[in-house]
């Protein structure tokens, strides 16, 4: 299950799209993945001569899968790419291990609540050996543009 139908609704594009696949989705959960390309734009400067994926980009990846893709699915018929905008409104994250160029990550997100256009989720990121990379809580809103 790649769910290209959801991914193509996302308001992001390269070089700031961090979703490859949606692996599972229902009313309470979503799981997706992304492989960080070796030539992502931020590796040139983070860090000097030592490319490591920035934590904010890991959070962005978790938000794109765990909030944006999930939210579009939950909104269902109420989603309209031309009329609805999305915004991250809060995040609290802990990071446990670095992600290097070329690594594939898996993101899981579990709904805490989805009320009045606001989605709040427990999110986590794992590597291919199922080791935890990051864990936290993210919230976002959808709104009429």
């Amino acid at each position: 299950m790649i769910r290209q139908d959801i991914i193509q609704e996302l308001p992001y594009s390269r070089p700031f799209l961090f979703v490859d696949e949606i692996l599972a989705i229902d009313e309470d959960h979503i799981k997706g993945s992304y492989r960080f390309k070796k030539d992502e734009f931020f590796y040139a400067g983070h860090f000097k001569d030592n490319p490591v994926t920035p934590g904010v980009i890991l959070t962005e990846c978790m938000a794109q899968i765990g909030m944006a893709c999930f939210g579009i699915y939950l909104l269902g018929d109420n989603w309209n790419r031309d009329e609805i905008g999305v915004a991250m409104t809060s995040d609290e994250m802990n990071y446990y291990k670095p992600v290097y160029p070329g690594e594939k990550v898996f993101v899981t997100s579990e709904k805490i609540y989805f009320r009045f256009g606001k989605l709040k989720c427990n999110v986590a990121m794992f590597d291919e050996d199922n080791k935890k990379i990051a864990k936290g809580v993210i919230a976002g809103v959808s709104f009429k543009k």
Partner: protein, 84 residues
Amino acid sequence: MTKEELLSKLKTIVTPYVQNTEGLNALNENTDFIKDLEINSANLVDVVLDVEDEFDIEIDNEAMEKMIDVKSSIAVIESKLAAK
């Protein structure tokens, strides 16, 4: 529950989301959550969810849209409590 008790509970609920503490100190019936307290719209949702938990009531979309200031929030809470 008296109006003073209700106001006091509401003040406790909004406090963690307030960005303008002067507005909080001067909280009264006419205080507007966004203009006077500088609560953002995402946290306004948290205020409503906390109101639901505190008073054991359910706020629907229509009621939520009214809850933009102290006076109308108290009116919504009172009517939901009366309907219980």
